[in-house]
Amino acid sequence: MSEPLPAPATGPTPLKATSRRATGARFAVFWGAPPVLWQAAFFLVPLGFLVAMTFWSVKSFRLTPDATLANWTFILNAGFFRNAYVYTFWLSALTALIASVAAFPAAYTLAYKVSPATRRFMIFMLVVPFFTSYPVRIYSTQIFFSPQGIINTVLVPLGLGPLQVLNTPTGTVVGYLVLTLPLVVLLQTFALANVPRILIEAAHNLGCGRLRTIGTVIIPSARIGLIVAGTFAFVLAFGDYVAPTYLGGSRPPTLSILIADQVKSGNNWPRASVVAVMMIMTLMVVMLVMIGLAYGRRKERA
């Protein structure tokens, strides 16, 4: 699309061409430099700074540049970090799985069973939650599940309650689903809508049943999108602070809670940085593995 430009048809004189090239270069720098400078200065440098800080030390409550591995050995050997790491990873993976399974029938319906106008409207509706204050949504969910909340006022007379969700891992997962489910339904709907109809019809014509078509034609064809959706759910849940704090009651704490506590009250920024760098590395590994899963076998076949 953006090929190198051919020389203008009406050949300018050599002198003009040089000045033109200078104008062109100035033009390119004017538009090209600001985004990269901004993201370098306020994204790359702070992240690099975070990595550097993992080797600093805190001497009598003051941050001191240093080259110590003490923060790393402390955090990696700390029981509270290991527990939080396993807990956060497990709960995020569980959320990705639940969200993917729960979203699929809805995405299937939106992709195949409703009119295009309805689908467009529903897709717009799925964008709405992203622009609704997430802490406020968690607050509402908290109220729903509270002992005198709506869910228990309905369940208790039926002899089904009271339901204890708040301040449990279940509460955290419910909050993670509030965060991730709209995105997973949205991405799965796009993935399924892009499966060539002709493949599905061919399967039906060849006598393939509906469930078998889903398992052997639709899911393999939409694999990339489905994996991307699940990965996003994992990434969002893994980094979330609000759900584990206000629905999970911070017990046990997740990695993001450890970071916030260390920074906001503990004031041990180097240790918080170690946790943050571990989170980034984990997410990078997870994303690489998922990209491998999404694209891997397809290359072999081709």
Binding site: W38, P46, T109, P135, I143, V235
Partner: protein, 268 residues
């Protein structure tokens, strides 16, 4: 009822259930913001505007709202300019390291905001930006530029590169072409990007929470209120924030809808 119809009914019912789960917190926020009772429960305690009166009388909430509006207003202009620039560079040039350039421009939303928040806090503490509105704006621009870039890039995909070349061949300078051809063509996407980035900034709470110090934005105030006891004032704030954000998103959507409608007509 035939099997197919029954199957469809079940699927639609399930989908409604999923949407109910997604929208119940949003709907209840709005409904209970008008509820007279302190504790939001059934049955409904009668219509009241007292929670709205309470938040408009609260100076910290007013300050938060003003801070949020300032941050979103500045963020959307800078982020849209940067996003437009990056999208245009992607559209127009091919150069060594372009994939790195684009990755740098597009990557920030994949990093958890809690980590961006800590990184910006430690960095900004060194350069004297932490605790200021500028410090929040800096982080929000990092986070929202990729959204602006995506919107403009989608629009530019519909612009035939030959049109720009034709303008150059007719003697127009790159600058004249930019402001005579590219910018007018991208105007709907640019406006959509302004609204969308403003909405992203207006709702962002994690970076702002780490960086803001005493200059709380509205979502940071909400986070602080969540630590306290149940208060329907949170619902009232939520309803107002919802109104502002949705207005911005609907405006963006309308502009994009007009854009894709026109593109479809052109192709069809």
């Amino acid at each position: 009822m035939s099997m197919a119809a029954l199957r469809r009914l079940l699927l639609v019912a399930y989908t409604v259930l999923v949407f109910a789960f997604i929208f119940a917190p949003i709907v209840s926020t709005i409904v209970f913001s008008f509820n007279a009772d302190r504790f939001p429960s059934l049955p409904w305690g009668g219509f009241s505007l007292q929670w709205y009166e309470a938040i408009f009388a609260d100076a910290t909430i007013q300050r938060g709202l003003i801070n949020s509006l300032i941050v979103a207003g500045v963020t959307c202009v800078i982020a849209t300019f940067l996003g437009f620039s990056a999208a245009y560079i992607d559209y127009r040039y091919r150069f060594l390291g372009k994939s790195v350039y684009l990755a740098l421009a597009a990557l920030p939303p994949t990093v958890p905001v809690v980590i961006l928040g800590v990184a910006l806090l430690t960095f900004e503490g060194r350069v004297g930006l932490s605790g200021t509105l500028q410090g929040i704006i800096v982080g929000h621009v990092v986070l929202s530029t990729p959204f602006a870039m995506a919107l403009v890039r989608m629009r530019l995909a519909d612009l035939d590169p030959d049109i720009e070349r034709a303008a150059w061949n007719l003697g127009a300078s790159p600058w004249a072409t930019m402001f005579g051809v590219i910018v007018p063509f991208c105007t709907p996407a640019i406006l959509a990007a302004i609204f969308l980035t403003a909405a992203v900034s207006f709702d962002e709470f994690m970076i702002a929470w780490f960086v803001s110090g005493v200059n709380e934005t509205l979502p940071v105030r909400v986070l602080a209120m969540l630590q306290g006891q149940v208060s329907p004032r949170i619902n009232a704030i939520g309803a107002i924030v919802f109104g502002v954000s949705i207005t911005l998103v609907v405006l963006a959507q309308l502009l994009l809808g007009r854009m894709s409608g026109r593109a479809a007509r052109k192709k069809g």
